[in-house]
Amino acid sequence: MEVVVAENLSKRFGFTWALRGVSLKLGRGLHLLLGPNGSGKTTFLKLALGMLKPTSGLVRVLGFDPWREWPELSKRAAFAMEGAPLPWWMSGRALLSELCSMRGFPFANAEKLAGELGVSGYWERPILTYSSGMAKRVLLLTALSFEAELYALDEPFTLVDKATIAKLMRMLEELKSSGCTILVATHYLPEGLEADTLVRFEEGRVVSVENIGRAG
């Protein structure tokens, strides 16, 4: 079953085309979107998550139109985007508690993952006081704390230490083996990460799709 389908998908910002004519079909599994900065991988993720409206073409995720049907799709998808601001006036714990409450998920899962990622030690403090690595781990929790069929992570391996990367890789493997779909946009590929598909972006286009393992 195809989880993400894009057909001739394009996105323009002003006079700049961030994505041009991307057609892609991805099934279940771990898919890496690779490419240099500005190659269009994050724009592709945002279009798949209904944060941006396509200029032309279409994208379907789990059968939904993300732009129009995000409230329905959001029950089955979770995401963490690089550089997204966290509310500095709150504590990490309060933020995750609010998000769990609004999304209708038990807080217990967030607490468990916070322990595993070493966030519990500091998440009672206001986000204002976090280092960038600490904030990044809280940001990752805003995606991984929720049960979903699709996880979209933008640059999850930057700003965090090696131990966190190893834990994160293990979590992604677990999610993959439980039948989830994970889209990871990254320009840094950690050693040992077993992906099903490598999608390479360049200048807003998909230049290659490499199926490595099970994908579908």
Binding site: K46, L49, G50, M51, L52, K53, W70, P71, S74, K75, A78, F79, M81, G83, A84, P85, L86, P87, W89, M90, L95, E98, L99, S101, M102, R103, T142
Partner: protein, 235 residues
């Protein structure tokens, strides 16, 4: 249920409730001057206090500040990311912002009047029609805040940055608004909705401000369109 949770989220957003608490004390300070100046400190003098310059300006400035935080600050700084994460629809978000805005803007003024009048004369509580007058005052304040909301919401969506929004809104308030009426007719609408009984006030508002009300509704439609069409903006 989700709408209520979103309203709760927006009430706590950037600690915006703290500004409402501060405004409550500002109203208290303003009204307490009646007693200091030797004016008979009564419920009636509190109601007529709407004639003073401070009350309409304070309420409009408060409305502008709350709209700046809920719209410009959220979009401009990229916090719209978080509400997208909650899975809320765009129309639901707009409704939640409007409800949170009403809760933040209208009650401080009414609560300050109620508290002061009771503290001046506790027998006020037993006065016939006191509770009804309070309810009408609250409804009037909510209506005036709603009248200002589309203009400020649209202005916020257009400017995106809270600093530009506040500069623009305050320039409008201080340079253009007057007793004879500016684009928002802050004094006029405030006088009608917070001093006259609600029924006649509404009739007069429609009669005198028909064009402005229509413009206000057009603002609302434009703001809703921009919000629904919008993209998540990233810092």
């Amino acid at each position: 249920m989700k709408l209520l949770k979103l309203v709760k989220w927006y009430l706590g957003f950037f600690h915006v409730w703290a500004f409402s608490l501060a405004l409550f004390f500002a109203y208290i300070f303003t009204y307490d001057r009646f007693a200091i100046l030797g004016v008979d400190p009564s419920w009636d003098s509190l109601l007529s206090g709407a004639e003073s310059l401070q009350e309409p300006v304070l309420m409009a400035a408060h409305a502008a500040l709350v709209a700046a935080i809920l719209f410009s600050f959220e979009e401009g700084e990229g916090y719209s990311y978080l509400r997208h994460l909650t899975g809320a629809g765009r129309l639901q978000v707009l409704a939640a912002k409007w409800l949170a805005y009403l809760l933040l803007v209208a009650p401080p003024l009414v609560a300050a009047k109620a508290l002061l009048s009771v503290s001046w004369d506790y027998r006020m509580l037993a006065r016939p029609g006191f509770v009804q007058a309070l309810a009408e005052l609250l409804a009037g304040a909510a209506l005036q805040a709603s009248y200002l909301f589309p203009f400020y919401a649209l202005w916020a969506l257009a400017t995106k940055r809270a600093t530009y929004f506040v500069m623009g809104a305050f320039l409008e308030l201080y340079l253009l608004e007057s007793f004879w009426g500016g684009p928002l007719f802050v004094y006029g609408s405030h006088f009608m909705l917070l001093r006259l009984p609600l029924g006649p006030a509404l009739a007069r508002l429609v009669r005198d401000l028909g064009l402005r009300l229509a413009a206000s509704l057009a603002h609302l439609a434009a703001a809703a369109y921009l919000e629904l069409r919008g993209e998540v903006k990233w810092k």
